[in-house]
Symmetry: C2
Subunit: 382 residues, 2 copies
């Protein structure tokens, strides 16, 4: 089942390995140092970073090796400077040099923070990620975006710093709680919508077939046991689609990579307005995608049947898709949160909406405030 892919993101080559088992520390260290001149002294000893949810996996990886381990608090609320400083402290205390190796083991929060810390420690050290959640595998771990939250704004601080090696061990998914599955599915659906090569709709069909597993008894165990092939195929498709998009525009200077933000302008504002950590990223993205379909339909860009297909799939996984969102709070706070979004150009907010195939960027000028408010608030279609 092992499958490897290599992408070139700017000057960095990222190797992705989708496999059954959790990798051993020897493999991780060997891979981590293999890209350089092969020299490896005390200063290239690795440090491991995980959260309390993935500490068990990290200890399994370590076996009887005694290496520095930094365990951060889990979840979005820990994604701040305090955690970054804790990671940097472990690296400093371990005497890591520039040729040291940071190994992040966890979901998106852990891998984003570990990657950020690695990118700024002594202006950049080696980085290897073990992605343990579906969301991490299909989104956070791949593509080089690192960061943490500040002033209640998601990923306000960050860098582009692709990991050289990214492991996606399916074994880690067996213990994933339900809400984590849901969180990952939303990003999978997003990536399937963006797959312009998927003319037959196979990627979306794969996801539709997975939907059944979510309602089976014994989920998520049953998913991994009885639907493993579809799951692995979905992760592979997602890695390929995202990898291709990022390789074309590694630092989001063009419009290519910005398409990955489908649903995210609404989603980040919803997460901020609701209070960081109250909604899972996937729930917010699902709602944002439904809003994007609605917006695209109103602008005549998203064909109604495509909008309904996407929104229907989201609803089938139990996501909230209607406006206003119950946790959205005050409309003004939400619009303020929207205004703080990174996806601005020349001061104007940008949104991504699905087209007949793939997706496209639309600016606030095309939308106008009244339409935006209707999309957020709900209300009669025009």
């Amino acid at each position: 089942m092992k499958k490897e892919y290599t992408f070139t993101f700017g000057t960095t080559r990222s190797h992705v390995c989708i496999q059954g088992a959790i990798p051993s520390i020897d493999t991780l260290v060997e891979d981590g140092v293999s890209d350089t001149d092969g020299q490896c002294g005390t200063s290239c000893r690795p440090i491991l970073v995980c959260d309390t949810n993935t500490a068990g996996i990290a200890r399994n990886i370590l076996g009887d090796r005694d290496l520095p381990l930094c365990i951060v608090h889990p979840g979005e609320l820990s994604k701040g400077w305090t955690s970054i400083e804790a990671i940097l402290r472990v690296a400093r205390d371990a005497g890591l040099g520039r040729d040291g190796l940071f190994i992040g083991i966890g979901g998106g929060v852990v891998t984003d923070m570990t990657a950020f810390a690695a990118s700024v420690y002594m202006r950049g050290t080696r980085l290897c990620l073990v992605s343990t959640t579906l969301l991490g595998m299909v989104d956070a771990a791949l593509g080089g975006k690192t960061g943490f939250d500040l002033f209640d704004m998601k990923n306000l601080v960050g860098t582009f710093y692709p990991a050289r090696h990214i492991y996606m061990p399916l074994a880690a998914l067996k213990t994933l709680p339900n809400h984590e599955w849901k969180s990952g599915m939303a990003e999978l659906i997003k990536t399937a919508v963006l797959d312009t090569n998927d003319t037959e709709g196979e990627f979306l069909s794969l996801l539709t077939s997975l939907h059944g597993a979510f309602e089976e008894e014994g989920f998520p165990q049953s998913l991994v046991e009885h639907h493993l092939d579809q799951l692995v195929a979905s992760i592979r498709c997602s890695v390929l689609v995202k990898g291709r998009i990022v390789a074309a525009d590694p630092q989001e200077t063009g419009e290519e990579r910005a398409l990955l933000n489908l649903g995210h302008t609404f989603a980040h504002a919803l997460e901020s307005a609701a209070g960081l950590g109250r909604l899972s990223h996937g729930e917010a993205v699902a709602w944002g995608m439904a809003r994007s379909c609605e917006l695209g339909r109103a602008l005549g860009i998203t064909p109604p049947e495509r909008g309904e297909e996407i929104t229907g799939l989201l609803r089938s996984f139990g996501y909230e898709t209607a406006a206003p969102h119950p946790l959205m709070g005050d409309r003004h706070a939400f619009i303020r949160a929207l205004g703080g979004d990174k996806k601005k150009k020349a001061g104007k907010l940008m949104f991504v909406v699905p087209g007949g195939r793939g997706a496209q960027l639309v600016s606030m000028e095309m939308i106008g405030q009244p339409l935006l408010e209707r999309i957020i608030q709900g209300g009669p279609s025009v």
Copy 2:
């Protein structure tokens, strides 16, 4: 007197402008946005960053324009996360997007921190620096190294993020206090030592001729009035030498850029051991260079007459060159500080020592602990 240079550091082009007057806000903003598609809405309004020493210059630059200004505390002790967060807060409050512009106005501490903040705010915004000190002009502002101190380690956290535009207005030097002149001269001497094209020793002679000005009555005013040509020529030489070295190795992955660390392994350890902020960077670098000459001589790499020439020039500017340094403190603390240096390879400390021309890297393996201790502590030559 205006002189412009352009360097290519990796994927970024850095424009350096050495000129008499302090640039206007219109020039800075025009330059800041000129590298992109020319679009400029509310989100690309700039923010200015300075410290209390350069607030006057910043207000002059602003004129009657009402733009966000972040004033940080001056000096090495303010070079921490708290200041970075203050800069990021001003940017966030001003609603800057990814196409915003950070303008740093000050010496090395201000430009290093502004550049770091710009490099991580929304994963990278536009950056323009106005270097107001000699040290900043000949070292910090050029070459893309950004950072701040953490756990008492100089620039433990940082990125490579060259500014697109760097202004070096000589007018700013008129009010520079004496210790700032001294700090800059040490880096100038360092750069002259590294100039392998300077076969006639013209760069070093220029600096020797400046030395007289330091002893004249009315210094530093007299320096700017009567020795301006030599001063400008020195800054130009330094910009060219440093620019050439950085362009060959922008992220210090090879050995080229590491040569700029001549004297710095000793210097950073001295700064840390003495307590950050107690010594100027230049004083520490001067002492470190003298130690490097001594080390190079003991290893048979630095010809004795060259070592004496460099050390003599340093002494003529009043720098402490003898070992042990009065502020060095406990030998063990100093050696511990050395051990935390970034300039390690495969766990081994690296030093740069002058050769017959230019300089070269030497590793701890070549040196050995007894020789290192003698160089730090002083004592009879072998």
